[in-house]
Symmetry: C2
Subunit: 457 residues, 2 copies
């Protein structure tokens, strides 16, 4: 059995902590095993390991999240990257083609697909593992997991069983699906034995590869990547699940929760205060999550979520918190904090002058042994002040050693890279006419080809 | 008549916008004449001008506020600076000695003393002007202004008239004083005709100079400055007003308010949002004052004050807001934003490394024609990246011109200064073992003595 974890999300629902490169699943707000903060992705990865499924797992995601996944789960996690954002049907098709042509997985192998961030107890993954035998035993084309509802939620989709007797493995036939019912309809659905759709399903690899072939799409990964833009922008649920007749559901009667909004997330956060700040005792039910160095003080105001990051500061009642998406609107301002393969950065100051140029100051960490790509910028100069650790840098093919207190000027057009010998921190001041992350021209250079004795300084 | 405005305050009550160098009176949160933001000090100064009292006015303050006053009111405002913080009796005695020996004010001249920041209508200053004739006409040693109460406040002090008939000028004899009564006692006091003590009083200069001489204190300013530490730490109210028998009060029946806490201040702020951010319509009665570049979003939470500055972020119900002083506690962390005689700075990033050194990044503005003192630091290096405007700098007696993109290194012990030719902005990265404002050795240097043709660059 293979497992594909879908990691997507535009990241607006948990603004300001989430942004386009750091969706909710990457926020380290949960309490991990030894009390250390843990993200939803890290938690699921740890649970997969415990369930013996980690070596069979792949992450399907987009470019923006690729580095974040490497940063949180390690660089050896197999990641299948969409060339552009479409929807879950194209993403799952792409993952299937990867397993087929890149990993040589046999067409008989069961593939389970699930979101990368369900908040569940460990037993959930035992159920995911059972889907393989459910497929074999029932002869179904699709096997879903349905969560036994704990309350008549209006937010979830429901899977209504067909009423037939369960299989030996406990799976039920599926009658139909129902999205976000009213409270009354939800009561009725639960009385009929309906289950919550938690977005977990399995099929044999041959099922999806056959479907692609039938429709005239390439089944080899490289070709499908090239023609990815031709795949319809549609969800797997609409395109496949709801049209399939041979579909069964395996009930899961345990803890499951979608931590997608501030009010559901804060229910799972143990400490009322994460980060620098104070919440007075009489501010009952208020959660503070502060990623800034600036202290936050909450006095007497209960039932709030106060969340602060370099992207913004949110103060909301818990009930009103799901409105954040609408209030923030469609714009995607530049992320003020990002984790990358080589480390992380935080924007600490930004000014746009009326004269038409901009100044942006970052604090950057480059991890020991990691480096940024060899690159140049067309529209900005950079000044680096090394403040901690030691590093190697290359400027227009000349290598240097740098240490705290050293200042490096990188004028427009200068080819440059930096590699941490130890963890190294620097303050970068960018000045130029247009300061965007996309202003990068990457140049081939192999760090290992620079003889050690050539470094200056 | 001369007017002495007392400017003090530790600045905790309006945290995080106020700090030790920027007390509440300097916050630009009021709406000025043409809709421009205005501080309490700027408002009073404008009202004094309109009342014809500005040329007779002096500001008595401490070192920490001296530069802020110059920045907001202009460098030509006469400022009398306490050598150390004591209390209002010593501060007023010092001001009296200044008027006597430095300004040669005659001993018969009336001196009115008032806080620098009452929130009043213009007519209030007409009453202040009348105190001179009240003193002359009644023969009293002290003439106070008493505000006709609008409600039985438990927060203010009351002046209880003696019951005698008013003088021709409308002044009443004073029976006794009563501090912060209970609600019931306040009702009773108002029924007896008591007035709020708004901290405004007048005396003839000779009255206070005579008092100093009687007690063996110097009456000349220079000598009193030298022996300032000998003056008792006591308020003028306790030391003088409540002991004086010949004291009258002039009733003022108009608008007066002490904008000392967030709940009283926000009642006078027109716009619910100052600075970058959004308050949703259903968050009724919530005020947002944001001095950060980071946007603040308030959703659905009513009756709050949300205030953000580089020093901190406050979220409080209006009723609970006076508790801020207790919650913040006694510590005085370094100010993250200051206005100075030469411009202003903002701390944008600060890190203390476990290895025992610190990194602090500031964005600094130096105004055209202004300069910092010629100085050196013993425990820190600085790197300046000029990002806007042009300036002259001096490093170890060598003068240079600098422009945007130039980088200036100022290692420990380097003598340095910078003077704006235009307004100039720079990003300063400080690194060192102890980053405190006090690590400054000032050296004599006259900018005007550097011949223009000696500048390099």
């Amino acid at each position: 059995m293979k497992l594909v974890l879908l990691s997507g999300g535009s990241g607006k629902r948990l603004w300001p902590l989430s942004n386009d490169s750091r969706s909710k699943q990457f926020l380290r707000v949960l309490e991990g095993e030894d009390g250390k903060p843990e993200s939803m992705v890290e938690r699921v990865w740890r649970q997969l390991d415990a369930a013996g499924l980690r070596r069979s797992s792949y992450v399907a995601t987009n470019r923006a999240q690729k580095e974040m996944i490497a940063s949180q789960l390690g660089g050896d996690v197999p990641v299948i990257v969409e060339p552009e954002r479409r929807d879950t049907f194209p993403a799952i098709a792409l993952a299937a083609s990867y397993l087929y042509s890149e990993e040589n997985v046999s067409l008989d192998t069961a593939v389970a697909v699930m979101p990368v961030d369900p908040y569940v107890e460990d037993g959930f993954f035992g159920h995911v593992g059972k889907l393989e035998s459910v497929l074999a035993e029932t002869g179904a084309n699709l096997a879903l997991i349905g969560v036994v509802p704990s309350h008549p939620s209006e937010k979830y989709g429901y899977i209504v069983p067909s009423g037939a007797e369960p299989s030996a493995g406990g799976a039920l036939g599926v009658g139909h699906f129902r999205e976000k019912p009213s409270r009354e309809a939800a009561d009725q659905l639960i009385a009929e034995g309906a289950l919550w759709n938690c977005g977990v399903f399995a099929f044999r690899l041959g099922y999806l590869i056959g479907m692609l072939a039938d429709r005239g799409y390439p089944i080899r990964h490289g070709e499908l990547l090239d023609r990815y833009g031709e795949l319809p922008k549609i969800s797997f649920d609409y395109e496949v699940v709801e049209r399939e007749e041979k579909v069964v559901v395996l009930p899961y009667d345990g803890y499951w929760k979608d931590l997608g909004t501030w009010n559901t997330l804060t229910e799972e956060i143990g400490s009322p205060t994460i980060g620098k700040g104070i919440v007075t005792d009489d501010a009952e039910g208020t959660h503070l999550i502060n990623e800034l160095d600036i202290p936050v003080t909450v006095i007497g105001a209960g039932g709030l979520v106060v969340a602060a990051s370099p992207d913004g500061i949110l103060v909301t009642t818990k009930e009103a918190s799901p409105r954040i998406k609408d209030v923030i609107g469609g714009g995607s301002p530049r992320p003020m904090y990002e984790e990358r393969r080589w480390g992380r950065y935080k924007v600490v100051d930004y000014v746009k002058y009326p004269e038409g140029y901009e100044v942006l100051t970052k604090r950057i960490l480059i991890r020991a042994g990691s480096h940024i790509s060899y690159q140049l910028h067309r529209k900005r100069s950079e000044v680096w002040t090394i403040v901690s650790g030691v590093a190697d840098i290359v400027l227009n093919e000349r290598p240097y050693h740098v240490k705290p207190g050293d200042v490096v000027r990188v004028p427009e057009g200068t080819r440059h890279s930096i590699k941490g010998i130890t963890d190294v921190e620097l303050i970068e001041v960018q000045t130029g006419s247009e300061l965007i992350e996309e202003d990068i021209v990457r140049i081939c250079m192999d760090w290992d080809e620079i003889p050690t004795n050539q470094f200056i300084g």
